[in-house]
Each structure stands twice: as C-alpha cells, then as structure tokens.
C-alpha cells in the first residue's frame, strides 16, 4: 500500500463513511474470492482496504456481518444489472425476453468466477433463499415465464432456476482453466448463452414424435 495514497484516501474517508464502507466491501470481495468465506477475517480485509481495524469494526461488527454484507452486495449488483430498478416483465412477450437478461449474469459470472460461485453457494444454502432479493426475483421470473402461453407444460420453475444459476456460475470455473484473455472469456460467455438458448427452445432430444413418452414425465 502506497503510504501517501493511503493518507489521502484516509482524509477522504473521514469526510465520507459511505465511501469507506464501499472500500471495505470491495476489499472483502477480493478476499472472499481468493480465500473463501473461511479465509476471510476483518483484519485481513481492513489491511487490504487500507483502513485501520477499528474503523472496519465500526462498519461491520463481526466477520459474519461482513461476509453477509458482501453477499448482499453481489445480489444487489446482479439485481441492478439484470432486472434494473423495477420488477422485470418476463411474461414472454416483453421487448426483452428472459434470454436477454441472462447476458448480464453470464458476463458477471465469467469475470468473477470465484466470487460468483461462493455467492451462489451461500444463497442456496440459506434456510430461505427467497429472502435474497435477486434469487427471489429470478425464480419469480422463471415462474412467470413457465406460466405464460409461450412455455412448455409442466416446467418446474424452482428446479430449472437452480439449474440455470448453477450452470451460469460454474461455467466460469471451466472457462478459467482454459482461456486467459478477456476476449476469450467473452466468447465463452456467448457460448454458454447460445447453448442455453438452444436447450430452452428445443431440448436435447427430438421427442415430439413420441407423445406416448409423455407418460414418463406425468408419473
């Protein structure tokens, strides 16, 4: 940490606790991504953010508070970039179909592979994942689509939501083991979007000619 830079930003911080909070959260995202929830401590984050420990504790009383605030930051970021400020209209006949929203998720995931994966795990393991605003909106959108006239019958919106999110947030693990440039990552993100679209439209099998197989799904 550059001493001069640190003292300049310290001055700014005194004037602006919100900015300090943001800096702590940014550092927490970095630590969470590199060391996981078990490796995160308030003092490590404070050190990286260039604030003293006492200040960090004023903002976040415990390690757990800081982890939860970081997870909430990711949710908020995703909500904003995916759904915007208002509840999305994903009934199927909006100007922006759900597949367009997925681009925002895919790009975030592929640029933040560790953070995205940890975030998803934290959300899914909660007693009630729907308390997370992003997850709630996402499942809600899938449900709205499943109930629309454009959807196939019998979609299990919760199972489908988990599948989509798992695929989108774990694909980057695969991507990062293979490519290194931002351009290549973008191409890989498009590949995921394309296959997801194809799967949503057609499935994998040409099953439409075998209506008797429907019984398997209805049982």
């Amino acid at each position: 940490m550059n001493e001069k830079k640190a003292s300049v930003s310290a001055k700014r911080r005194r004037r602006n606790p919100d900015a300090t909070r943001e800096e702590i959260l940014a550092a927490a995202r970095t630590v969470l991504a590199s060391d996981g929830p078990d490796g995160l401590s308030l003092s490590k984050v404070a050190h990286l953010a260039g604030v003293n420990r006492g200040t960090a504790y004023q903002h976040f009383e415990t390690r757990e508070d800081l982890i939860q605030a970081t997870i909430a930051w990711v949710s908020e970021y995703l909500s904003q970039s995916v759904f915007g400020s208002s509840e999305a209209d994903l009934s199927g006949d909006s100007e922006r179909p759900i597949y367009d929203y997925m681009t925002g998720i895919g790009d975030f995931a592929v640029e933040n592979p560790q953070l995205g994966r940890i975030w998803l795990y934290e959300i899914l393991s909660r007693e009630d994942p729907n308390k997370d605003e992003f997850f709630r909106q996402f499942v809600q959108s899938t449900k709205a689509m499943a109930e629309s006239e454009f959807a196939e019958d019998g979609v299990d919106a919760e199972a489908l939501s988990v599948m989509i999110l798992a695929g989108y947030f774990l694909w980057p693990v695969w991507v990062h083991a293979r490519v290194t440039s931002k351009k290549e990552r973008k191409a890989m993100s498009l590949r995921m979007r394309r296959e997801f679209l194809r799967l949503s439209l057609y499935g994998s099998l040409r099953a439409e000619a075998f209506p008797e197989l429907q019984a398997l799904l209805d049982s």
Partner: protein, 232 residues
C-alpha cells in the same frame, strides 16, 4: 483393534480403502485445505507411517480420493462398462429408431445421478469443482464417460443438431450437484430427499425432451434470435 491391524498387514489394498474412506469424510467436511495425511491417518485408525507409505504427499491423497469418488460415481450412475470409464461395446445406438429406449435410459440415469448427488452433497460438489478446473477433465473417468454419452447423442439423429456438448455437459452436471444445496434446508428426511431427487431428475428429463419454450409460437424470441444469433 489388534484384529484390525492384522487384517491390514495382510492386505494393503484394504488399508488403502480405509484411508480413502477417511479422506473422503475429511475432504467433504473441511475441503482440501483442511486435509492432511496425518489427520486422515488418525481418523482411519492407521499409523502415520503406514498412511505415508500409501500417499507420499497431501496432493497425492487428495487426487487419489477424488479419483476414487469418480469411480464410485461411475459405478453408481452408469450401467456396465469398465472402470477406466469406457462404455460397454454392446450399448444400443442412441438413434431416432431407438428414441423411446434412449429416453427411458435417460430417465433412469437422471434419477441415479440425482440420488447420488443428494446422498453425497459435499464430496460431490468438491469433486465437481475439481473436474471443472482441470486442464483436461477427460482424465476423470466419470466426466469422460458422461461427455462421451452426450457426444454420442449429439452425433446421432435422435438429438437436435447444433448441440454444444461441452457447455451442455457443464450445465447438466453443475445443476445436479448444486440442487442438493438448495434441498438441504427443505428436505430433512430420507424420503423427502428422495422426492427432491425425483423432482430434479424429472425436470431435467422434461427439459431434455421439450426445452422450456414453445419455439414455433414465440415470434418475439425468434426475432431476437435472428438478430443476435444468425445460426439459430
């Protein structure tokens, strides 16, 4: 205790198994960071020297444990075939003519995979992250067989053309192993977990058969696709 150690002296292979089982338990609970050869030896009830004879370094033990998990998964989910992940020669071709067999086979496969994932949530997820981060995931016996099965399907006339097998393999596998995380707080009994496994396997079968959208009637989406993806 003395009886056990006699057995081990006679049978290094079963000692290896005891060590791998203990390593699986620790890996599932604490992850690779929390695993050491000595902590595994302690849990396995073998002395450290013996454990080091089998696994010189922690990395060897972690790798051997994940390979073992992959074999167990292969054994639990695929029918027939050998332990190197090769499919049996006499499998029916997944073609248009055999589509009902293909779909029935897929239904059973989905259920076995969903049940394995729900019964082994932590080690399953750790195994999955490891496979996805490998430079060459086909070194993993289960992944190799799974990707091959999808490739065979993609190459046949039973499937839609244009499948991206690598992406589809990742999409499919990740869902199975993350679903149990969501299920954990919702299904506390064995019976309830089994229902959740059925539910997930059913949705994946439905998705594979029909997709999500009625593609023909979806004019807006078609226009969107045309604009953004000339090939679809």
């Amino acid at each position: 205790m003395p009886k056990k150690s006699n057995r081990r002296k006679r049978d290094p292979e079963s000692t290896r198994m005891v060590i791998l089982e203990a390593a699986t338990t620790i890996l599932a609970k604490d992850g690779a960071e929390g695993l050491s050869v000595s902590s595994v030896a302690k849990l396995a009830g073998v002395n450290r020297g013996t454990a080091y004879q089998h696994f010189e370094e922690k990395e060897d033990l972690v790798r051997a444990t994940l390979d073992w998990v992959s074999h167990q998964l292969l054994d639990a989910v695929f029918e027939g075939g050998d332990l190197d992940g090769e499919a049996p020669e006499d499998l029916p071709t997944p073609d248009w003519e055999h589509l009902p067999d293909v779909i029935n086979g897929m239904a059973e496969f989905n259920l076995r995979l969903a049940e394995y994932a729900i019964d082994n949530p932590d080690i399953g997820r750790i195994w999955l992250y490891d496979v996805l981060s490998r430079k060459d995931p086909s070194e993993d016996v289960f992944y190799k067989r799974f990707a091959q099965a999808l490739q065979n399907l993609a190459d046949s006339d039973a499937s839609h053309s244009d499948m991206d097998v690598e992406v589809l393999a990742v999409l499919m596998l990740t869902g199975y192993f993350l679903w149990p995380v969501w299920v954990r707080s919702r299904a506390r009994t064995k019976k309830a977990r089994r229902k959740m496994a059925e539910r997930y396997a059913g949705e994946i079968l439905r998705l594979s058969m029909h997709g999500v959208l009625v593609a023909d009637g979806h004019m807006i989406l078609s226009a969107y696709l045309k604009k953004n993806f000339n090939t679809l």
